[in-house]
Amino acid sequence: MSNLEILFSLVPRAVLDTCWMSAASSFFALFFGLPIGLLLYTTSSGNLFENAWINRPVSAIVDSIRAIPFIILAASIMPITRIVVGKAVGNEAMIFILSISAIPFYARMAELSFRNVEKDLIDTVYSMGATRFQTILEVALPEALPSLITGFTVAIIAIVAASATAGFIGAGGLGQLAISYGYQRYNPTVMTSIIFILIVLNVLIQWLGDRITRKFNHSR
């Protein structure tokens, strides 16, 4: 196949695969990471639901997963992947692995966003007679929102990068294409094109993330 043929026949599919894996993993990172981040924040000392019995173990689990490099994490949770997804290779398996790796990452980022909400604001709303749930809903979440979106953008970009790495362990997408044509057969044209596409993808995500953040940020 000529370079152009490769590009035209394989790249669109690879882009779709990458987008699908990243989007699904990002969704799970948000869906589970945000509540875990909120849990870490609210149960930490001096906060609304201060509780060391919850905070310490959750913290420990989150940090342990984050300490494991992505490839090693993928290999080590293979049996679990097989149970949850039914198989240990393919895009769906990768979504599971990417999510497991991204959830603690985003949980910590979300926790940080919540922490940056001024304690005085929380106090103010408390002094208005708010319940703890109202405090979270009416203050912590809306005030942290711009920062939560920025953090999520960072997480998505990290997930896209990790999904490319996942090409080494049987995921499809741009990563796999880059590895088989760029790394194994050393085809500079294909590799450069893929790098270019990855850059465009990242720039696009960052741009979109910034735009949405700005829309919700009224403090500037």
Binding site: D123, T124, G129, E138, S219
Partner: protein, 344 residues
């Protein structure tokens, strides 16, 4: 003020510890309806902690707080929340929610208490009208000046119709002119709504212009307490005196530099006068009764709650010691304080 009323708020022997040291150490006082209680004290005296104990932002380690005769400690969480809605608070750094429009910031306390959207909107607009900011309803806090933000905070604090407004250095971040307009607003609101105000400040001007009663706090204890008039006219405590120093006249530096403590042409006398005496032409009387003329170097008379308080530096010829002695005796007899600070 109806003195026969039960106090609106009563603190009994409040103690608050931070890592085993008492930051509030046995404080008791009561506040009656429509009073404006000023709390002054040096930085770190415990003023903020004390005021935060009142609305439950700090828990107390011992003592009791009665609000509208209810012992707060004996209430359940829900009732305590209801009480917090009866206590509004404004802060030095405003604490507006940057994510919400002005109108929604003002309406927040109402939202928390479950008011309907239409009611919230109506009341918030009314409140913004009172603080003359109705035209900023759709703005975000970042678009407002400091003074405007504090007006929004006042509107927000009033949303749930509280009976007490707590103010912790609410004007400390504002320039003098804006401070004045905020004080005028507070005075207006106070008389319209029959509000009781407890305000912390380190600015004596503020106490002078709006407070009726004064508490001086130092190291978590009450040093002095009384009507602003009495404390300003005759501060008993050294700390109080030094806090009040800023609003006392000071000797012009050219004279202070020449001052000696032995002898000179003129004696410089610091002279404080208050009450009925201050309404008299006292310098004329001094001349008529002693034959000595006093020259005003610095000072004047101010009115605190309709009572005259005068503070002067006077110069009197010191060439004839006997006559000076006589004049000084006259002054001492007719004043709160007379003291020869030196000679020039």
């Amino acid at each position: 003020m109806k003195h026969f009323d039960k106090p609106l708020l009563e603190l009994k022997n409040i103690q608050r510890l931070f890592s085993k040291t008492a930051v509030i150490d046995g404080v008791s006082f009561s506040v009656h309806r429509e009073e404006v209680l000023g709390i002054i004290g040096r930085s770190g005296a415990g003023k903020s902690t004390l005021i935060r104990c009142i609305n439950g932002l700090e828990c107390i380690d011992s003592g009791q707080i009665f609000f509208e005769t209810q012992n707060i400690a004996q209430l359940n969480d829900n009732d305590r929340r209801l009480i917090r809605r009866r206590i509004g608070m404004i802060f030095q750094n405003f604490n507006l929610l940057s994510s919400r429009r002005i109108i929604d910031n003002v309406a927040l306390p109402l939202k928390l208490s479950g008011a309907s959207k239409a009611n919230r909107r109506r009341r918030a607009l009314d409140l913004l009208d009172i603080v003359s900011l109705a035209d900023k309803a759709a703005h975000y806090p970042v678009q407002l000046s400091g003074g405007q933000k504090q007006r929004v905070c006042i509107a927000r604090a009033l949303a749930t119709n509280p009976s007490v407004l707590l103010s912790d250095e609410a004007t400390s971040a504002l320039d003098p002119e804006t401070t004045q307009s905020i004080l005028e607003l507070l005075t207006k609101i106070k008389s319209h709504m029959g509000l009781t105000i407890i305000l912390i400040t380190h600015e004596m001007e503020i106490i002078r212009s709006i407070a009726t009663r004064l508490i001086v706090l130092d190291q978590g204890r009450i040093l002095e307490e009384g009507s602003v008039r009495d404390v300003f006219a005759q501060p008993k405590n050294e700390t109080t005196k030094s806090l009040l120093q800023v609003i006392l006249p000071t000797l012009p530096s050219t004279i202070a530099a020449k001052l000696n403590f032995i002898d000179g042409q003129d004696a410089i006398i610091e002279f404080h006068i208050s009450g009925l005496e201050a309404h008299e032409p006292f310098l004329n009387k001094l001349e008529a009764e002693t034959g000595m003329v006093a020259r005003i170097i610095q000072g004047g008379i101010e009115y605190i709650q309709n009572e005259a308080i005068g503070r002067f530096f006077l110069a009197i010829k010191a060439t004839d010691k006997q006559k000076l002695e006589k004049a000084y005796a006259w002054l001492a007899q007719h004043s709160d304080k007379s003291e020869i600070v030196g000679y020039v």
